[in-house]
Amino acid sequence: MIDRVFRVGEEFKRLLLGLLVLMGLGFICYLFQFTKGLTITGMSRDVSWGLYIAQFTFLVGVAASAVMVVLPYYLHDFKAFGKITILGEFLAIAAVSMCLLFIVVDLGMPHRLFNVLRYPTPHSILFWDMIVLNGYLLLNILIGWNVLDAERMGVAPPKWVKPLIYVSIPWAVSIHTVTAFLYAGLPGRHYWLTAIMAARFLASAFASGPALLILLAMLIKKKTKFDPGEEAIQALSKIVTYALIISVFFVFLELFTAYYSKIPGHTQHFDYVLFGLHGHAKLVPWTWLSNILAVVALFLLINPKTRKQEKTLKIACLATFFSLWIEKGITLVIAGFIPNPFDTITEYMPTIPEVFITIGVWATGFFILSVLYKIAVTIKEEVAS
């Protein structure tokens, strides 16, 4: 099936070339980091995780959201999603690949990565995260590839794929739950020490992931002969709507607990992201941008007229995606370290090489995504004709 990648038009070639350039720039910056150490990033003794781990956290959600098309199709026989399950699964493959890359670029000793396997440590959540993420990657590769191959041949997928699909549904929930547990079980990091962390993660993931999927489906519809179908997009948009409402609701729950109890450990971090703390306010514009985008998205999504119109739905999906990207891909992780355990403030600002490495990993993910989508779409076109 891979040969489909090579039968491409000029525009697709330019896309891949552009991504390759970004990947190259990222790689050069990574070589710089590899020789100098993580000192080239904006991270510090106090803010010891930054952009890399935040992207990782956000992208686990994008990966998990594939379940939002797989579950209705396979458990509820919702036919409209039949055409796009492959898009969800391939998006998951690309997202998990980015997650793994973000972990690797964040390590101080990347060549010792396999120590995690050499000395298995069940009491570490990071050990379990490694297992569920790699498992999920493998599941989606096996399922996506085999289902697509069967579609190409015009036959039913092999029997052993069905149980894997059923396993992949709770597995998707597990990857984001375990990722939330990375944070939610740490004594002394009160911003993260909340029982609804996993629920928040899942709600925001089921909004941001399907929003991205809608945007990708619209793009494919415009650029290729494959139409994912209006019904599927509309169904997805309802998922985004409810998930975003729940996600915002969960944030309100956090705000109530913090500000009604007025326990400093709980309010400080919210103060820092919402208003600034003791004159430190680097994340405040980001937080409010995220809030405004969420309000815009909710307005456009809840109103059926704007939700049904492609143009406004596109804006709503963009707003949803970027709002939640800011929340999980920037503020949630960084603000957990501010203030630090001594109740003092060290702020964080990523450096230029750090940003380029981050862009490089995103470009790698989109390169993988483009290639996989090209294969999928070409086969869909072939089958249709």
Binding site: L38, T41, R45, S48, P187
Partner: protein
């Protein structure tokens, strides 16, 4: 009694004697080696702890700025002097409100406010850093010391997120150029690993107290085994009210502050 029987009894007796002597033989053989041992004068404990007498430290500070504990520790362990945000420290001084955030109120006596409070790894009995480490590069020894295995650390910094006391430092850059005076009896670290106080595990093995305890001119740092009822630390804890940092988090810190 025929000859066979007598021989049988003789041999049985000899065998029994031999068997009973086996532990003795084994013990003496072990002395000979090759074997890994600890020398008799090595300090051995079940739950190492430290009491920090803040008043004594304050008295000393009045006679002039004193930083001898940190100087001794950082020289002995080749801890680099890196300024600002990439700072690496095993033991340091801080104020009351930084050491005990949330505990200090506006009417705290001025002298207490300034401390100084000597801060270091608490060698918690239930250490979250050990719980989260994905490779057991940080682990707890039988005597309670929370140890670092720098050969195994992958530099994921999960332990730094896990530690509620800010006791851990990461080597963001190559530390060697920042070590003012090298101690050739101890290794340095390399870029990419996390480090912290080890309660001088290497000195305990030689029968020496931790370097900070030895260096303190005011004898304000007292080191001992909490499982030993006759130890000085036990005596102090029994006679005085002491504070522990963030005890409410349930990590069971083993550094006590006498104020």
């Amino acid at each position: 009694m025929d000859k066979g029987k007598r021989d049988f009894l003789k041999i049985t007796g000899a065998c029994a004697l031999g068997l009973s002597a086996l532990p003795l033989v084994k013990a003496t053989a072990k002395e000979k080696g090759p074997a890994y041992i600890n020398i008799p004068k090595a300090l051995q404990g079940k739950r190492w702890a430290m009491v920090i007498d803040v008043r004594k430290c304050q008295e000393q500070q009045k006679r002039g700025e004193c930083n001898k504990c940190a100087e001794a520790c950082h020289y002995i362990h080749n801890v680099p002097k890196i300024p600002n945000e990439e700072e690496i420290k095993w033991i340091w001084k801080d104020t009351f409100e930084h050491a005990f955030p949330g505990t200090a109120h506006e009417f705290v006596p001025d002298e207490l406010k300034e401390g100084p409070f000597v801060l270091l790894c608490n060698h918690c009995s239930k250490p979250p850093c050990v719980r989260v480490c994905p490779t057991q590069a940080t682990f707890q020894r039988a005597d309670g010391i929370v140890m670092m295995d720098h050969h195994r650390c992958i530099g994921c910094r999960y332990c730094m997120a896990g530690c509620p006391f800010g006791a851990r430092s990461f080597n963001w850059r190559d530390p060697r150029p920042y070590i003012e005076k090298l101690n050739y009896q101890y290794p340095t670290r390399r870029r990419g690993v996390v480090e912290k106080c080890t309660f001088c595990a290497e000195r305990l093995g030689e029968g020496l107290e931790p370097a900070c305890v030895e260096a303190c001119p005011a004898k304000a740092l007292i080191f001992g085994d909490l499982e030993d009822p006759t130890s000085e630390v036990r005596k102090i804890l029994k006679e005085h009210l002491t504070l522990r940092r963030k005890y409410e988090l349930g990590t069971h810190p083993n550094v006590y502050y006498l104020v």
